[in-house]
């Protein structure tokens, strides 16, 4: 990186992105539960009410369906809403609007009405918030044609994906893993919009592709470091966008490494990890030197006690062990 950098956090990068969007485009406004006076339930929008006022930093009642639907209507009416939902679990109360309206209206109208809407929400476990605040349902949303699903993991993506999502003519859902908000690091002072259609190789390697996204990216990178100490050279692919899925980058990587492990905080059954495996089988079966494998969450609703929650979601040792099995054929 040549330009000057600043020290920042994922939360601050996201806030800077929202702020920039509000400054750049007067049609942009932020709406959601406690985004204003409270400052956002994860403090992402803290301070924005003072700067932009209650018309553009708009607190809503606890009416997920109505305010998500209002976001869709406002987008059709020429505004550029950013709708914040506290957690992915709460977004289920707005599922009708997201799936039956946001995802379908362009198609049902024969291309007449597009929905330039951005919906942001928190996802993921690890904060002892139990079974109604901790799930990873972004893979579910990736099932739906008509919407796009982004999972920023890095500071660059937290800073840059929002503007690209706002520029997109269609509904974009952004999933922010709750454990990442406090992540600190260096970010280019002039960081801005990033591409939202491709996966990224976060660590090049030759022997196995570790394919992941969001909250498990950093666990996977740590696992890759440990594997390197064992003499296993792992490549780490950050999907970044779950829909549309960048199949080409996945297949290119697997064609080079001949092995793949998928790491996903979602459950296995009917999941994005299953979809990735299917695409590898469809496109790269003859490139494989070993059966595919995956590390996912254990199929239970998220438990509250820390030791059980830790056991329920992917962790560095389980990723390392699974990758080792794929590469060496034994534990």
């Amino acid at each position: 990186m040549t330009a000057a950098t600043i020290k920042t956090t994922y939360r601050e990068a996201m806030r800077a992105a929202i702020r920039e969007a509000l400054v750049r485009d007067e049609r942009v406004f932020l709406m959601g539960e406690d985004v204003g006076r409270y400052g956002g339930c994860f403090a992402v929008s803290k301070g924005l009410l003072d700067e932009f006022g209650p018309e553009r930093i708009r607190d809503t009642p606890l009416s997920e369906s109505a305010f998500v639907g209002a976001g869709i209507g406002a987008a059709m009416g020429g505004a550029r809403p950013i709708v914040e939902i506290m957690t992915v679990n709460f977004s289920l109360l707005a599922l009708d609007q997201i799936v039956n309206n946001a995802a379908t209206i362009l198609h049902m109208s024969g291309g007449q009405f597009n929905i330039p809407l951005v919906i942001r929400m928190t996802t993921g476990a690890g904060r002892q918030l139990a079974a109604q605040h901790s799930h990873s349902l972004e893979g579910w949303y990736a099932h739906i044609p008509g919407i796009k699903v982004l999972t920023p993991a890095t500071l660059e993506d937290a800073r840059g994906m929002l503007w690209s999502a706002l520029e997109d003519p269609d509904p974009v859902l952004i999933f922010e893993n709750g454990l990442l908000y406090n992540m600190e690091g260096e970010l280019a002072a002039d960081a801005g919009a990033v591409d939202i259609s491709t996966a990224a190789i976060r660590r090049p390697g030759k022997q196995i592709s570790l394919i992941t996204y969001g909250g498990t990216l950093f666990k996977t990178l740590t696992a890759a470091d440990e594997l390197a100490r064992e003499g296993i050279d792992a490549e780490v692919v950050d999907l970044r966008t779950l829909r549309p899925l960048d199949t080409a980058t996945i297949i290119d990587s697997v064609a080079r490494t001949h092995r793949a492990l998928i790491i996903d905080e979602g459950w296995k059954s009917g999941s994005i990890s299953a979809e990735i495996m299917a695409r590898i089988m469809e496109n790269a079966f003859y490139d494989l030197d070993a059966p595919l494998a995956r590390v996912c969450s254990v199929e239970v609703p998220m438990p509250y006690p820390k030791h059980l929650e830790d056991a329920a979601i992917p962790q560095v040792p389980t990723i390392v062990a699974a990758a080792r099995r794929v590469v060496t054929g034994h534990d």
Partner: protein, 351 residues
Amino acid sequence: MAGAMQRNRRKQALIDREHALHLLKEMLRIRRLEEKCVELYTASKIRGFVHLYIGEEAVAVGSMQALRPEDAIVATYREHGHALVRGVSANAIMAEMYGKLEGCSRGRGGSMHLFDATTHFYGGNAIVGGGLPLAVGLALADKLAGRQQVTACYFGEGAVAEGEFHESLNLAALWKLPVLFCCENNLYAMGTALARSESETDICLKAAAFEIPAWPVDGMDVLAVEDATKRAAIAVRAGGGPHFLEYRTYRFRAHSMYDPELYRDKQEVEEWKKRDPITLMIERLKKQSLWQEDAWQRIETEVGAEIAQSVDFSEAGRWEPVEELTRFVYSEVAPTLILPRNAGEERGGGL
């Protein structure tokens, strides 16, 4: 209701003959279009679900008189009449029901999903209550942009049982948004009578609970509908926040083509048919000696020709090539993305 009737009696003296004939013609256009739909459904030219508006025409025709071309409309799956009165051509509506490329939604939507950008017709929505949040959002966009526009949101009384109804009314009232809530109370949510699904059957009371001015209107009387809606629309446009009208009406036909109507009495249907909105209007004109049989015949002929033409138009329409199946899932305009200077590095080089 009695008050409304009295006002109507007063208004009868003021009927403008040309306008009355216009309203009659609009109602007749809906009636004849839908009668043709039944025929075409029987002939398998139209498939899927088709929900007829016959009996309720006075609501769409009367209420639309209050709207301006720039206003927005959100409707339900029983929306042929609303689209037609709003200015979507019979050709485009009929072709849509045929599933042809020339339909107002390119054939992608069918009977339940008529859309038209040029008349600001934001669709037939087939999820009961699903359109209300959209109307709130359209009105919010107008308010934020400082436009003096009204969003008219049509829904049936069945929608009041949905959470989205209550959430949307609250939001519209809380933010004083220019939404005109148009509740078409035809007494049955498919086959469930209002009293069998609601503990409180006075729908206006529900709206009033959100501090929204609300009143019932005789939905079979096109002039009463027009009058009430104009007054409400003026208030909404002037910044008075959302207003709510409950149009008391009745569906003469079955809920859809698959409905044997086991839930209501034939006698009840016959009673309501005595208040057929078209007949009511004709009788009123006759009483006031404004009726001219030849003018009526001319209207019948014109409407008949329009509907016949819509069938010819649809028959001659094209099927969208199967190669285009996956169009309109995402917009075809590429986003104008501004890439940062380090975009290439970021994609290729790792952290």
